[in-house]
Symmetry: none
Subunit: 402 residues, 2 copies
Amino acid sequence: MSKAIILVMDGLGDLPDAKGYTPLSAALKPNMDRLADEGATGLFSSIGAGIVPGSDTSHLSIFGYEQEKYYPGRGPLEAIGARFPLKEGDIAFRANLATVENGKIWDRRAGRITTEDAKAFSKYIQKFKVGTGIDAIFQPTVEHRGILILRGKNLSPDITPTDPHSNIALPKSMPLDPKDKAAKRTADALNKFTKMAMHTLDKAKENKDRRRPVNAVIVRGAGTYSKVDSMFQRYGVRGACIAGGALYKGVASYVGMDIVDVKGATGTFETDLKAKGKAALQALWSHDFVFVHVKATDSFSHDGKFEEKKNFIAKVDKELMPTLLRGNCNIIITGDHSTPVKRRAHSGDPCPLLISGPDVRRDDVKKFDEFACGAGALGHVKGTELFNIMLNLIEKAKMCGT
Amino acid sequence: MSKAIILVMDGLGDLPDAKGYTPLSAALKPNMDRLADEGATGLFSSIGAGIVPGSDTSHLSIFGYEQEKYYPGRGPLEAIGARFPLKEGDIAFRANLATVENGKIWDRRAGRITTEDAKAFSKYIQKFKVGTGIDAIFQPTVEHRGILILRGKNLSPDITPTDPHSNIALPKSMPLDPKDKAAKRTADALNKFTKMAMHTLDKAKENKDRRRPVNAVIVRGAGTYSKVDSMFQRYGVRGACIAGGALYKGVASYVGMDIVDVKGATGTFETDLKAKGKAALQALWSHDFVFVHVKATDSFSHDGKFEEKKNFIAKVDKELMPTLLRGNCNIIITGDHSTPVKRRAHSGDPCPLLISGPDVRRDDVKKFDEFACGAGALGHVKGTELFNIMLNLIEKAKMCGT
């Protein structure tokens, strides 16, 4: 039985610099180039041509879930990534521990508080009753980050966030539509939580020595959790996820993939690529396909670092690819979106795509980069098409019709 | 006025063998290669990238009917192909005359009974009353094959089949949703038919000398028939269908195309290609386009026969193409789906596509095969796009907007 590895280099695609190079086209990557030569190539837009994908929506799409239909918002995906046991109807938010002074946000990250310190503060705000039959549950994750859950009947995610993404007056949450009673009830509950949390944190003894006291919780990315049919139910395949970042694990877990925790997989430049490769080979035994994610390509792009992005791609080629090649299976390599270093932000430019394996029709493209792959036989692959192409490749696609 | 011939070689697309060849790329086919050289080429997925098409859904798509919306299930299409006068709301099934022993299916084809013998048995089970206001009507087609119609009010196709596609205990039909009353009523009617047919066939004198008695009717592919707007109503064009297989005629008839019966068009390797070509030229006079279907490419693929598939393609090039070329019109050549000989089953790989005619923009591709066409100017054509491209080619496309 044929299997597949999907390697996604986050934010892989880029735009030409003054000399016409991208980090990928300039990188030394003999393994990827050989696969491009032997296989088929093209371009990939995880949502659609010209659309700028988020990290969550792009991965839903890569996993075969149409983001228009299945995207639950960032909150639920963060909560799932943090292994919080969500219930149907829960409203989940991405939360920040923050510093507020005189009603104004002073630091959205409370002085980039450590994970350990954050835990100490979190015990004061674990759970509040914030309305008739409504509980607010807070759970810290990494550093200043956390998740907030509102649990109760008749709640709605259609409210404004209390994290304005800048240092202005701490806003109250409001329903998007003033006539929407469930949203009003939810905004009221959230505002009550905000007030209770501030009141409680203010008295925390741990704040005594902090220059930037942890005295507020601000939230964004509201979304309702509802269970979706798993990948196995929808497509009859079992997938494993190997990633450092919690969000990627969250998306994979949401669609029912198995999460393989790898020691040393940090989602940074220092991530242990060899350990990830070994874990991928092992997961391949018990799964139809393995998704392997590396993050630093995107991080370097956000910091505008061309050389570092180029070097990390070379490192992936040298330290991860040889192990993946030992899987002796189909290999798909692409990015979830472009993050051009000159823009320091996601863009809607497609990513290069290569598919290699015994049942792949070889095309004339011999290099893996944004320019060469534009002439590939796969053309411009969009959205969930890539997942369908993978299912066909591993002979797991169900017939449509008879 | 410009016209077009669409030649569909069933299951045409293939995957490379050990030497990198497909039956098509290895076949001697000077006529098709010349058309590819003079015209434009690309790849075609009749439903979508990576999607594995059935024979019915793919042809709906080729005829410009979105299968997501218009696919009525296999039963109605088989019934239309058998020229059964379906009424709105009829539930139609594909049926098999079968042999059952001690409640277990022994032979799903009753010893591959001949068409003539099948007719003799069919007279016992032509029509039964199987519920209040519900008739069951059986009609034999070819060999063990037939169709069953349930006719009455408030019926539903949402039931389980009684043909399990393997030799296990004869299953009872059940509603897919136990609370669905119409489905319950339909499953009950079908189960009553099954019982009555078994009871009646059991006593048939024709069974006396048969090693595998015809003593059951098993069904699958339930679908409701409802009339759809004809191709002329939707697109203002008249199409003719030249095919051997009943299913292809059924799909064409369902969308209002004219069926041209050709003596010697058998849907097999021995099919009279010259007769089909002549019939196509004749039909071109009275139609805007003619669809010509050859089946053996697919049959050989299902049997894993590379050489035979290759030789049949060469035969089509030699015996059918010269006649079609005399039509002096646009020619489109492709497949409805790939059926790789190494898989012996349909796959989601695209088929090569060529379009040739005076108004076609010539590209650099000079050969008609899965590899060369990947570099063609048409790119990856999907679903009903091909039909729209054909309409534009023959100047019959309606403007969208003003």
